[in-house]
């Protein structure tokens, strides 16, 4: 396959590119609410289970890799403690808000 005439890749972190660039809302975790963080051990982990892109690492609490997170919001939807909020990227300065525009 020296010519690479077909589309083929090795399963690897980032093989589809830095898909975090697609995101317009980012998940922000509140450690004061996260069950694992509060317990100080690897428990719950619903966000890790449900993340369709495998960009959440298990932990107390879990860690979200924003290089690849597309911002789908499933983790926020599934978190039993409502510890994850989806915050528009504009608030983080990834893109400028137009004058007078409000972030909902």
């Amino acid at each position: 396959m020296a010519q690479r005439e077909i589309s083929m890749s090795k399963p690897a972190v980032g093989e589809a590119g830095a898909t975090g660039q697609w995101r317009n809302k980012r998940p922000v975790m509140d450690a004061a609410l996260c069950l694992a963080a509060k317990a100080g051990r690897v428990t719950c982990q619903f966000c890790w289970v449900y993340c369709p892109d495998g960009c959440i690492a298990q932990g107390a609490g879990p860690v979200i890799d924003l290089t690849y997170c597309k911002g789908c919001g499933i983790c926020a939807e599934e978190c039993p403690a409502d510890a994850i909020q989806m915050v528009p990227e504009a608030l983080h300065g990834a893109c400028e808000l137009a004058e007078g525009e409000e972030v909902g």
Binding site: R4, E5, M8, S9, P11, G14, E15
Partner: protein
């Protein structure tokens, strides 16, 4: 063992070719008029005459999917279908060429529903001409056998799937003498497939056909990976390469077995013809009789048969048509709201070519409607008269159509 001649249907010829090609995986779902192909292959698998996996699937979509999976790991695969079965398979009909898998599929050409109809025309395979398969059309049962064997060599040389199309009932269920090559002849012609691009080692896994966005970009190892458009351009390039490979394989088959079929196109009484009748499949065979009859009337008629419809044999057609007074294309299919597909393609490839004849189109035989030699001859006489009257273009002629008003 010397080759032996048997009397068989077109479907048996297709099945026999798959057996001679030593296919390893067969997956198919029954549909008239294709069913006897895979019934025969299933019987041979059951009896042990054909050491292959026969996967009985629940739909044509799954039939092609099984062939895709098997071809991906390097197996030689076969399937066959017709009309609505091909339509049901449509999504995977695109995957196979895009993933560059050398699958061979026979199409026993049948009319598309609605209304329901199991009889012959070529609307089914014509409707997938743009999917990126090689498409070959056969004129008789011997050509079905020989072309299906050839299809594997074409497919495996180019990493492209090949559709072998033959007219439902007119060939699929009609018995003709067919010379069956012996296994040694075919083994010499068609070596085992040893060069798959996609074979998967569980210890070294791959994503095959993953999301491939517009632009080329580096993969995780820093190697530039083509974008979608590059993949498609390479695919197209392989189809164009088939313009040389199809005749070369036909010639190699002649060396091995003693028969060849013209490569991209074939002709009958064409050399001094003023009037050229163009068609694909068994209809073109019928046109040879029309040409002979019209020659007795003093009209110099010849036949140009299309064997390879994709890739479209532009140069082969141009060199055979420049200088003629008129070309009349008979299509057993229609691009609804326009005209017959072969007619459009032929006119397009002659556009602006000096000395090209006017190209007129005729639609016939839809849903198994009979078309007689006399009707074909009338259509040819009409085209001659119109061209003589100076017409360069004309509405599509519908042959043997019975509509009032």
């Amino acid at each position: 063992m010397a080759p032996e001649t048997s009397v068989m249907t077109g479907n048996e010829a297709a099945a026999t070719a798959a057996r001679l090609a030593r296919v390893q995986v067969i997956a198919a779902y029954p549909i008239t008029p294709q069913s006897p192909v895979v019934e025969q292959l299933a019987a041979w698998v059951e009896s042990g005459e054909l050491p292959a996996e026969f996967v009985a699937v629940e739909s044509e979509h799954s039939a092609m999917t099984v062939c895709i999976g098997a071809a991906t790991v390097g197996a030689r695969t076969f399937t066959a279908t017709s009309a609505n079965g091909l339509a049901y398979m449509f999504e995977q009909v695109w995957w196979a060429p895009g993933a560059r898998l050398p699958i061979v599929m026979c199409i026993a050409n049948r009319a598309m529903a609605a209304p329901w109809n199991v009889l012959n025309d070529q609307q089914d395979s014509m409707s997938v001409r743009d999917a990126g398969w090689v498409q070959l059309y056969c004129r008789n049962n011997q050509e079905i056998l020989d072309t299906t064997v050839q299809a594997y060599l074409i497919a495996e040389k180019l990493h492209l799937p090949v559709m072998v199309c033959y007219d439902g009932f007119l060939l699929s269920h009609t018995m003709m003498p067919v010379s069956v090559p012996d296994a040694e002849q075919i083994d010499g012609f068609l070596p085992p497939f040893t060069d798959p691009w996609t074979i998967v080692d569980p210890g070294d896994p791959r994503n095959i056909g993953p999301v491939t966005l517009a632009d080329p970009r580096n993969d995780t190892e820093g190697v530039a990976a083509p974008g979608y458009m590059e993949i498609r351009a390479l695919h197209h390039r392989a189809l164009l390469e088939a313009l040389a490979v199809i005749p070369a394989v036909d010639s190699a088959y002649h060396d091995a077995v003693g028969r060849s079929w013209g490569g991209l196109v074939w002709e009958h009484l064409l050399e001094d013809a003023d009037v050229v009748l163009v068609a694909a499949g068994s209809l073109a065979m019928q046109l040879t009789l029309t040409a002979e009859a019209l020659r007795e009337e003093g009209i110099k008629v010849g036949v140009l048969g299309i064997r390879a419809y994709r890739p479209f044999p532009i140069e082969a057609l141009r060199e055979r048509l420049v200088g003629r007074s008129v070309a009349l294309v008979f299509d057993k299919a229609l691009s609804y709201g326009y005209e017959g597909p072969i007619c459009s393609d032929l006119r397009g490839c002659l556009l602006g070519v000096e000395g090209a004849p006017p190209v007129f189109g005729a639609v016939c035989g839809l849903g198994g409607r009979d078309v007689s030699l006399e009707q074909l001859a009338d259509a040819a006489r009409g085209a001659v008269a119109d061209a003589a009257a100076g017409m360069r273009t004309r509405e599509t002629d519908w042959i043997n159509l019975h509509l009032e008003g």
